[in-house]
């Protein structure tokens, strides 16, 4: 009985990675919408984690996000990722306007054992994720207006021994001159812990 109860509450490493990826996907999409990086017409609402989240319908954005996230998931399972940076930069002069850092910490056992199991209830995790996603939406009220055409890019900080597929290349990390940082809530799946930090250009 006790073991059954245990397995019901358990979350596998794969499941945890999927949750993290879902969070990143919806987080990135709602940032794209909330910060007005792409026209609001190109978004549609979807129900996730008990929230209606605006997801981009632009095929090109999805064609970019899907392979990045699936590759990230593999790396996450191998515990190679340290953080994901979503860099929002001015299209014309490439100036970095805003950076969203999603930092990953690996909890539980240190080895990347695929059978490792967490013991947190799914509903609790989802609630935590929901809280962070809500917070992302509410950041619009204080983040400075992106008053220029902006594009975004995803930079993944990995360990040096990672295998790099062909479509990937190393880039220079980007930072914002004179930036302000704000740490949002974090959530944990008991296997992965996710910290979200937004850095933005401080007002002149």
């Amino acid at each position: 009985m006790a073991t059954k109860q245990q397995s019901q509450n358990a979350i596998t490493l794969k499941g945890s990675a999927k949750l993290v990826m879902d969070y990143l996907n919806f987080g990135i999409n709602s940032i794209l919408f909330q910060r007005g990086i792409y026209p609001p017409e190109s978004f549609k609402t979807e129900e996730h984690f008990g929230l209606s989240i605006l997801v981009s319908t632009d095929e090109k954005i999805q064609q970019f996000l899907t392979p990045v996230l699936s590759q990230m998931k593999d790396w996450l399972l191998e515990q190679k990722i340290q953080k994901l940076s979503m860099v929002v930069s001015n299209v014309t002069n490439k100036e970095v306007m805003e950076r969203w850092d999603f930092k990953v910490q690996y909890e539980g056992s240190n080895d990347s054992n695929p059978d490792s199991i967490g013991n947190k209830e799914l509903s609790t995790i989802q609630k935590e994720i929901r809280d962070v996603l809500r917070q992302i939406c509410s950041t619009v009220s204080f983040l400075p207006l992106l008053d220029c055409p902006c594009a975004f890019d995803l930079q993944i900080y990995t360990k040096p021994d990672v295998e790099v597929p062909q479509e990937w290349a190393e880039t220079a990390p980007s930072y914002i001159a004179n930036s302000q940082e704000l740490q949002l809530r974090s959530f944990s799946t008991s296997l992965h812990r996710m910290d979200t930090v937004v850095s933005y250009k401080a007002d002149f």
């Binding site: 207006l145 995803l154 993944i156």
Partner: protein
């Protein structure tokens, strides 16, 4: 010694009948020249090198060796040997004619010690002191949140697309919604801040792109409410229904002919009706458009109409074949259209954010289909348009929600004279006939009318009262009253341009009714 060599050379060069001596000098001669010049050169070189960066003995010796090497004569004798050899012996470091095709590096300018040091140093570069290494690590952690040396930063090479061309962050509106401060200077005249009169306008179509009210010179206000046109006589207060459309058709624009009783009525299906209001009689229907006609403007007998598909048509209402010119310069719905008071310019604004200005001449029969100016500075639909009554070439235009600026254009040279941020969508603009002022009507957030001084563009007054955005403005024929039609289904009259009481008497003298002999139809 060298002087002698030079003289000898000279002699041999001049005398042609002597045995050939102007080839390379004999070996013994060169030897003796070399030994003397090199001894003198050593000292000279020493001075020059010690004068520069390093006084190393080694370096100066090297250069001497080099110079010796340079002085060895080239195998092929040259014609101008004599002056060359002389100069070589005098300044051996810089031969004026460097030997043939050989590359001789100037070692004088190269600091070998320094280069050697630099080359070796590079290998030791990474051996930082522990504190320095710690400092770097700390800096990197501060900047990147992790030690950058243990991290690879990867990114997917097929980047996400940039936002579409011309896309403006729509959040701009969310960010700029504060009441702008008023002019601190007190105003010299009194402007009532409450409406003089409020009329109900049930079922007025809340559509930014339509022009639903117009006030005639004979003081009759025409209002389109849904499918009907009502006439409100401002003198008597009498209300008449002029027409009522059938079916799903509704009225999209109204325009009085200046100084006449003709009212043009634009409809959502396209036909434009022409009514003689004095007889309450429909004169004709003009089928110029296939989509709704949202904007109309008169220029004598020419009625210019703008439709949803961006087409402008000049109609001569006197002719059976009324279409004179079709202009296709807008790609989207035309929502603002205004002839200047002297008929020299026509301004049109569209949902494609363009403001076009066309030239015209009173009484002309053909019109250019190309605008003389096309201004793209507005970031949203241009609906609010009006020509300045005292400077006939000045046009005021206002943009929609994403733009929220009022711009002033000099149409003689096509320049933007001035612009002011209204912080709210500009739905209509009217110039005052009484004062050097203009009034603009706005939407979210305050739904106010703002009176601006021109050309200083300071705010004179803000008239609030509408609970929803203002759709249109109209001015009474005497210029004292501004009527605003709001989406809150009210028409409000503001006596904001009442003439100064001091000047009133003067005014009354002149305010005899305009004669009906003005340019009529025929």
């Amino acid at each position: 010694m060298s002087q002698f060599a030079f003289v000898n050379d000279l002699k041999s060069a001049v005398r042609m009948d002597e045995p050939i001596t102007n080839g390379p000098a004999p070996r013994w001669m060169k030897k003796s020249v070399e030994s003397t010049s090199s001894s003198s050169n050593t000292s000279r070189n020493k001075i020059s090198t010690s004068g520069s960066f390093s006084g190393h003995m080694k370096l100066s010796k090297e250069t001497i060796d080099l110079m010796a090497a340079k002085r060895t004569p080239s195998k092929t004798p040259k014609k101008s040997k004599s002056p060359a050899s002389r100069s070589a012996s005098n300044t051996p470091a810089k031969p004026k004619t460097p030997g043939g095709d050989r590359f001789i590096p100037s070692r004088m300018s190269t600091n070998f010690d320094m280069s050697h040091f630099k080359m070796n140093q590079e290998n030791e570069n990474l051996d930082l002191s522990p504190t320095q290494a710690d400092y770097r690590k700390a800096m990197s952690e501060n900047l990147h949140g992790c030690d950058i040396n243990n991290v690879r930063v990867l990114s997917y090479q097929n980047k996400a697309p940039a936002p579409p061309e011309g896309y403006q962050n729509a959040l701009k509106v969310v960010y700029s919604q504060s009441k702008t401060p008023m002019n601190v200077r007190g105003n010299t005249r009194y402007i009532p801040h409450a409406p003089d009169r409020i009329l109900d306008a049930p079922e007025i179509v809340d559509d930014y792109y339509l022009n639903l009210i117009d006030w005639s010179f004979s003081n009759i206000l025409a209002v389109a409410l849904g499918t009907s046109v009502y006439l409100w006589n401002a003198d008597t207060g009498a209300i008449d229904q002029l027409l009522d459309l059938e079916g799903a058709d509704y009225i999209t624009s109204l325009s009085w002919i200046p100084n006449g009783h003709l009212l043009a009525v634009g409809t959502s299906l396209g036909p434009v009706q022409l009514w003689d209001v004095s007889q309450t009689k429909r004169l004709r229907i003009m089928n110029s458009h296939s989509s709704r006609v949202g904007a109309m403007s008169w220029n004598n007998h020419i009625l210019t109409t703008g439709s949803r598909n961006g087409q402008l048509v000049h109609n001569d209402v006197r002719h059976r074949e009324h279409i004179i010119t079709i202009i296709q310069s807008h790609t989207q719905e035309v929502c603002g259209l205004k002839w200047s008071t002297d008929g020299r310019y026509l301004a049109s604004g569209g949902n494609d954010n363009l403001l076009n200005v066309y030239s015209g001449l009173p009484g002309q029969t053909t019109y250019h289909s190309e605008p003389i100016y096309s201004f793209s500075q507005h970031q949203a639909a241009v609906k609010a348009l009006d020509w300045c009554p005292w400077q006939t070439n000045v046009l005021a235009s206002g943009g929609g929600t994403a733009d929220r600026t009022i711009r002033f254009w000099n149409c003689n040279n096509g320049q933007c004279i001035n612009s002011v941020n209204a912080n709210s969508q500009v739905c209509a603009i009217l110039w005052s006939k009484t004062y050097r002022e203009l009034v603009s009507a706005h939407g979210f957030a305050n739904n106010q009318l703002t009176i601006w001084k021109y050309p200083s563009l300071t705010k004179v007054a803000e008239l609030t009262g509408h609970t929803n955005r203002i759709l249109n403005l109209a001015m009474s024929p005497d210029g004292s009253t501004v009527l605003s039609a709001g989406a809150d289904e009210t028409l409000r009259m503001w006596k904001c341009f009442l003439p100064d009481p001091n000047k009133k008497k003067e005014k009354e003298k002149r305010s005899s009714r305009p004669t009906l002999l003005g340019p009529g139809l025929r």
